[in-house]
């Protein structure tokens, strides 16, 4: 039986060896343990011994040749075995496992060293004292701490940003730099923290308004087991903002009925054309309303503005938020430039945003903005309802279900069935008034009842 002799692994970082010289020639007999060759694995010469007795049948490499560890370098055969009959061996396959480098290969030489210049400038300006109470960075009353990285906390202090308004996308819901960055960059205007400097004591009358609500007295005849539920982060945020909005903005509510017959017809036609091939582009009723509301707002910039510090801030862009119900709350992503987008674009955007809203994958720059909000409870069969304005926006449109109703036709002097939808606009009476709001709704109604106008607009 022929036996292979391989280049041995001698030393854990050896990957190749050089044959210096054969100490035996083909045809010589070998005793086990006898030196048979001299190799150089790594700057040192060693002899390799024969592990088997027999006859050195063939040598396969020349003196001076370098081969990888594990490669067959000679064959030992039986005495008397014809050398020519010895088959060429497999590449060390039947030998002990080819000793590939067990360790990590010597790492490549590093890239050119860059020498770090030591700064000699003085230490940066000291941060504000950590002990100073931060009124806005919320230790929520329930004790649920805002998770935010130290970097974020510092940035929040420096930029007066209310961390309780920000959703964190880091591990464990931690607010990390990318979450707060859009606020710092000024892309998004809310949320604003109370200023760090102590504010002047507000005037007497204002103080009354700003006082915390009086604690609710428990009913004397309260009975039954009570399960106390701590509010989630989001719930608290919603609670706080809605309370602030309802308290500070005098809401007026104007309702209008809109005949949705032609709008629905248009929708059917569009979807027949597009949605069959591209379900993502299927236009919903809400998409129509978003488009119509946005186009209508062009004529009513006040309703597209922010009310801040007794001033109205008019926006060129019309970014429409739409409320999406999610677990234990809601979130309102917005579609930027909704008036200029096609129905298809609005459809795709709203689907994507809604889906990601439900998955928790929205980025702050997708929801912490917008100039006008639409809230639709039509899917619940609601006839109409009133919504709370999202500050610092100035208006919000509450949309009910479209239902067949009898409507008086003055020409035929009879009732006829029409597909009617009620919308209720809530407007901030500090910024606008009933007449303007009503005129806006007329415009919206006209657009939806003659939908070609919305496409042409």
């Amino acid at each position: 039986m022929a036996k292979n002799v391989v280049m041995p692994q001698m030393g854990y970082d050896m990957d190749a060896g050089t044959l210096l010289r054969w100490l035996k020639s083909p045809g010589d007999t070998l005793e086990r343990g006898e030196p048979m060759a001299e190799i150089e694995p790594d700057k040192v010469n060693i002899e390799i011994e024969a592990f088997d007795s027999g006859v050195l049948a063939k040598t396969l490499i020349e003196e001076g040749e370098t081969v990888p560890v594990g490669e067959v370098i000679a064959i030992i055969g039986e005495p008397g075995e014809e050398i020519d009959d010895v088959p060429a061996p497999a590449n060390g396959a039947e030998q002990a496992e080819a000793a590939e480098q067990p360790a990590e290969p010597p790492a490549e030489a590093p890239a050119q060293q860059a020498v770090q210049e030591r700064e000699t400038e003085p230490a940066p300006a000291p941060e504000p004292e950590r002990e100073t109470p931060q009124p806005a960075t919320a230790e929520a009353p329930s004790g649920d701490r805002v998770r935010a990285s130290p970097l974020v906390r510092r940035l929040a202090r420096e930029h007066s940003i209310d961390l309780s308004q920000i959703t964190g996308s880091g591990p464990h819901g931690r607010i990390v730099k990318r979450d707060i960055q859009p606020y710092i960059d000024g892309e998004i205007e809310i949320p604003i923290a109370a200023p760090e400097e102590p504010v002047e004591a507000p005037a007497e009358e204002e103080r009354v308004v700003r006082e915390a609500p009086a604690p609710v007295a428990r009913p004397a005849a309260e009975r039954g087991e009570v399960e106390v539920q701590e509010l989630s982060r989001m719930r608290q945020t919603i609670a706080r903002r809605m309370q602030q909005s309802f308290r500070d903005a005098p809401h007026i509510f104007i309702t209008m009925s809109i005949d949705m017959g032609k709008a629905m017809e248009l929708r059917k036609q569009i979807n027949a054309e597009i949605a069959a091939d591209d379900p993502e582009s299927e236009v919903t009723v809400n998409d129509l309303i978003i488009k119509a509301a946005a186009v209508a707002l062009r004529q009513f910039p006040v309703l597209n503005s922010y009310y801040v510090d007794d001033k109205r801030e008019l926006h060129d862009n019309i970014d429409v938020n739409f409320a999406v119900a999610i677990e234990d709350g809601l979130i309102s992503p917005f579609i930027p430039d909704a008036d200029r987008k096609t129905l298809g674009e609005i459809a795709r955007a709203s689907k994507d945003l809604a889906r990601r809203a439900r998955e928790g994958g929205l980025r702050p720059e997708e929801y912490a903005g917008g100039t006008f909000t639409i809230s639709n409870l039509g899917m619940f069969g609601v006839d109409n309802f009133t919504a709370v304005i999202n500050p610092p926006q100035v208006a919000i449109l509450a949309v009910g279900a479209a239902k067949m109703r009898p409507v008086w036709n003055a020409e035929t002097e009879d009732f006829e069935p029409r597909f009617m939808m009620e919308v209720t606009l809530a407007a901030d009476h500090r910024a606008t008034d009933g007449a303007e709001a009503a005129r806006y709704l007329q415009h919206l109604k006209a657009m939806l009842e003659n939908p070609m106008r919305m496409l042409a607009g």
């Binding site: 700057k43 490549e108 590093p110 890239a111 860059a114 130290p150 510092r154």
Partner: protein
């Protein structure tokens, strides 16, 4: 005498070291050490080498091959297997005015000499009120490669813990040569820790003589998203991981090579973290109470308000090193572990 072929090979290796117009050429880490030792022994006849098998055997990592033939047995001394004794002898010789460079074969064996290193060499200057010193240089090597539990450890954290010692762990031939020369010329006890798996790494080294002060860390790669911190072979690993992170993940890593472990300069690290807001430390030793823990502590002390994520540490699994190759691969952190830690820091 070594065989003719071996000499030719050595010559060939030397010729392969390319020299460009700036007088820079590439040599291996091992060659850099050899040059440093040769230059210092030439310059000062009181520089002697001691260690197990450094003479006739040429050194277990072949660093001192040919040295005994060149300098003789008086200056290149093969010691008995007496780590404690020989470290004390080297230290005492340094006190009495010569400059021994002791080789402790691997850092695993230095445990036997710990009393001499920590209780004697490190203490001489302070304990005796600065009246005299023990400028002994102890060269040793970390490393692994299916060598088993007692031959695969690295204890730089233990030595970097001790006031009075200078501890360096260079990763490049340039640093290795410059540090070793400075260590030999300097007046303090120095623990010079090499790594068995980087002896063949090549790097630029000037042809003209130079030394490097035993201080400071180096930015090996500039970046913006995360600071990777390591030393010795870990620094090379970190740079490799940084390349892959850039190509595959578009993540820009700044890599800092600590180089000098005592005194530990974290100024550069802190500055970097203030820029990147994230840090990951990579070490081959066990994570628990490794040097990474110290660096992480300092980062949170000095750059707390700049951290966007907890400081990550990558180290060996907390086991004595197993023999099986696949298990060993699991123990020592590789590129994947570093990449995972970086992704975690950016989550």
């Amino acid at each position: 005498m070594a065989s003719t072929l071996a000499d030719l090979k050595s010559l060939e290796e030397d010729m392969l070291a390319q020299i460009d117009e700036n007088g820079i050429r590439e040599i291996t880490y091992r060659q850099a050490l050899q040059e440093a030792l040769t230059e210092e022994m030439t310059a000062n006849e009181n520089v002697i080498l001691m260690g197990e098998d450094i003479g006739a055997y040429g050194g277990s990592y072949v660093v001192t091959r040919g040295f005994q033939e060149e300098w003789g047995r008086e200056r290149v001394i093969d010691t008995p297997i007496s780590e404690l004794g020989m470290t004390g002898v080297a230290t005492g010789a340094a006190i009495a005015g010569i400059r021994p460079v002791l080789e402790i074969m691997t850092i695993n064996f230095s445990l036997l000499a710990m009393d001499q290193i920590v209780n004697h060499a490190a203490k001489i200057s302070y304990m005796f009120g600065g009246h005299f010193n023990a400028p002994v240089v102890i060269r040793t090597a970390a490393g692994w490669g299916q060598l088993g539990a007692t031959h695969s450890q690295t204890f730089e954290a233990w030595y970097a813990h001790v006031p009075g010692l200078r501890v360096v762990m260079p990763s490049t031939p340039l640093d290795a040569k410059g540090f070793l020369k400075s260590a030999i010329r300097g007046d303090d006890p120095v623990l010079f820790i090499e790594h068995s798996l980087i002896y063949r790494n090549r790097g630029p080294v000037p042809t003209e003589e130079y030394t490097l002060p035993l201080e400071g860390s180096e930015v090996r790669r500039e970046g913006t998203d995360v600071t990777l911190i390591s030393w010795s072979r870990g620094a090379i690993l970190a740079q490799g991981a940084a390349e892959e992170l850039q190509e595959e993940h578009g993540i820009s890593c700044e890599v800092i090579d600590m180089r000098v472990l005592r005194p530990l300069d974290t100024d550069t690290v802190v500055e970097s973290v203030k820029k990147t807001n994230r840090a990951v430390i990579v070490e081959e030793s066990w994570r628990t109470l490794g040097l990474g823990a110290e660096i992480a502590a300092r980062i949170q002390e000095d750059a707390f308000d700049y951290l966007d994520a907890p400081v990550g540490r990558v180290g060996s699994l907390e086991v004595p090193m197993p023999y099986a190759r696949n298990l060993e691969r699991l123990v020592i952190p590789g590129k994947d572990e570093v990449i995972q830690a970086v992704l975690q820091a950016l989550a």
